[in-house]
């Protein structure tokens, strides 16, 4: 796609071209990667699902991206995290770091589990996926700040955040924290597993950053009426 576009560039075309749109015609339908949907027998389909099936038999379908799988172990939040961690399109390295992180977290927790006395065993969470999700939840800010101009000056105004924005901020903070504040010799997966375990127990630098944002928003309550949406 990019190759053909560069061939068509003329002196009057704008320097910046948006080539990462989804250029599919809206006529095309989304693919369905989940296996359960196809195992429902004919009799149990609701009328809407029946209609959808009829439609899918006549309309063309978009190609599925490389990151969606019909595997039971597919996790959309984790895929998003992998994409955010990816540099220069190298998903193999990013995915490798995440799998090493999960393995590292699980090893630490399982080791603690096996050495703990009987009473304490139930409290130790060994599942790296639940730890990841809970840690991310603990890092998500509830309220954000926006820079709004009023009378020549810029004020930091507290605003509500959408779910996507909150998730994005949590992941972004986690990744930047692990990239910047680590010793030169510590590997990324080691630092990431430490941060995730800390965030799971509501400690650590990322949760601290969330609290600071909340405090700033609380202190700027007075400007809340500058928001017009």
């Amino acid at each position: 796609m990019a190759a053909s576009v560069t061939g068509l560039l003329k002196p009057w075309t704008p320097r910046v071209l948006l080539v990462r749109w989804s250029r599919y015609n809206p006529y095309y339908l989304e693919p369905e990667p989940r296996k359960e949907v196809y195992h429902i027998p004919e009799t149990e389909l609701t009328p809407e699902q029946k209609e959808e099936r009829e439609l899918k038999s006549v309309r063309p379908i978009k190609a599925a991206t490389n990151s969606v799988t019909s595997s039971v172990f597919n996790d959309p939040v984790l895929s998003k995290f992998v994409n955010m961690m990816m540099k220069d399109g190298d998903k193999i390295i990013a995915k490798g770091i995440i799998t090493q992180t999960l393995e590292n977290m699980k090893r630490k927790q399982v080791e603690k589990y096996h050495k703990a006395p009987e009473g304490k065993k139930a409290e130790i969470e060994c599942n790296p996926y639940t730890i990841f999700h809970h840690a991310l939840e603990n890092c998500k800010p509830v309220i954000g700040l926006a820079s709004i101009q009023k009378g020549g000056k810029f004020y930091q105004v507290p605003i509500p955040l959408t779910d996507n924005r909150r998730r994005f901020l949590a992941m972004k903070w986690m990744i930047t924290e692990c990239r910047d504040n680590k010793h030169r010799r510590t590997l990324m997966y080691e630092k990431l597993s430490q941060e995730l375990l800390a965030a799971f127990s509501k400690e650590g630098n990322v949760v601290k950053r969330k609290h600071e944002l909340h405090k700033m928003a609380e202190s700027n309550r007075a400007y809340a009426h500058y928001r017009w949406w």
Binding site: V72, F73, T99, K106, R107, V110, E111, H114, K115, N127
Partner: protein
């Protein structure tokens, strides 16, 4: 060279046994059938922790290596991922598999008055050759044999930081770090033999240092560990002594030589001399002495012929089940979907029942 071609395709491990009048294995009696009672939790575990008493009925089951023996029997030689697993699970469990049982039964029934027997474990990458070798080494050390376990011959032919020219022989090269590490581990494994075996020859190391005849082997090994510069020559001396004495009649002991990655001894090395020309494996003292242990005057396959090949295959269905249940028991498979039938089918599909691939998959699930 035949061995070269084979080494490019397969990785091989070898165990060699020196014959001697020694105390035979007394524990050949059949073990009590531990699985008479239907114990649901131990369908994949067995209480029979002695490799000598394991038989076909224990195939696919895990036996525990007692923690006290773990560090003496296996100071080196276990795959690194397995060592991490032992640390995480707080126990060392090995699966009883067909190749290891076959090897142990050969070792039990071999006639030790005849010339030495060699066994070659071969199979695809990740099929469990090193673990089968370690199982056999555990059996040998339980029986009281002297075990010469070289963890990985590839470690001796690549990535050596220091390469000293040998003092003993002008054209050879020494590897002091590798040799001293190996001697240290050798000392941990075979503590009780070191004081019993006496040297038959006088060894002169420098103008002032020499080891006299009749001194115990332990002294030689200690000298090799402390004097790092001559450690490769000490390794050569140790191997020579063991070769001479294992064939003797008095004070009999049995010697088992286990080399992991044995094709490394005949392939190419990645080491370079100072003028950037490649080093051939013959020019390394350690490799030269080790090849003499595997009885050669010729190159490649001829030095291994005749040997008994023992194929190591991927997990069978029963072994896969056993591995899956073991991971479930040790709380290793944490993903909720991995504990369902769907997840299990997916694991079989993704790993193709390859032990190491399965282990890596289950690590992050």
């Amino acid at each position: 060279m035949a061995l070269h071609r084979l080494s490019l395709r397969l990785r091989q491990t070898v165990a060699q046994v020196r014959p001697l009048h020694g105390s035979g294995c007394g524990q050949q009696q059949e073990a009590v059938g531990m699985e008479m009672r239907p114990e649901t939790f131990s369908i994949f575990r067995t209480q029979e922790n002695d490799p000598a008493c394991q038989s076909e009925q224990h195939l696919g089951q895990y036996y525990t290596v007692p923690p006290s023996h773990f560090h003496t029997v296996f100071p080196h030689g276990l795959p690194p991922r397995y060592q991490q697993q032992v640390k995480s699970f707080n126990e060392g469990c090995v699966m009883v598999r067909q190749p290891a049982l076959e090897l142990i039964s050969h070792l039990k029934r071999a006639d030790y008055s005849k010339p030495t027997l060699r066994y070659l474990l071969y199979g695809v990458k990740g099929s469990g050759k090193t673990m089968s070798l370690c199982h056999a080494v555990h059996y040998c050390s339980k029986q009281g044999w002297l075990v010469l376990h070289i963890p990985d011959a590839h470690l001796w032919v690549k990535n050596c930081k220091e390469l000293l020219p040998s003092s003993y022989h002008a054209s050879r090269f020494d590897q002091p770090i590798q040799a001293s590490n190996w001697l240290r581990n050798f000392r941990t494994t075979n503590e009780h033999f070191l004081s019993k075996i006496k040297l038959r020859q006088r060894y002169v190391w420098t103008k002032r240092e020499s080891t006299e005849e009749g001194r115990p082997l332990g002294e030689l090994v200690d000298m090799g560990v402390s004097r790092v510069k001559s450690s490769s020559d000490v390794v050569g001396a140790v191997l020579k002594e063991l070769r001479l004495q294992a064939g003797g009649t008095e004070g009999g002991f049995r010697l088992a030589v286990a080399v992991d990655g044995v094709n490394g001894l005949w392939g190419r090395t990645t080491l370079k001399k100072e003028d950037k020309s490649p080093v051939a494996p013959e020019e390394l003292t350690l490799v030269h002495n080790l090849r003499k242990m595997i009885n050669n005057d010729w190159e490649g396959f001829d030095s291994m012929d005749p040997f008994i090949p023992v194929p190591v295959s991927l997990y069978s269905e029963k072994e896969f089940e056993s591995c899956y249940l073991y991971y479930l028991d040790r709380h290793w498979l944490q993903h909720p979907h991995s504990q369902t039938e769907e997840g299990k089918k997916e694991l079989i599909f993704l790993s193709n029942r390859n032990p190491s691939v399965l282990e890596r998959l289950c690590a992050f699930l």
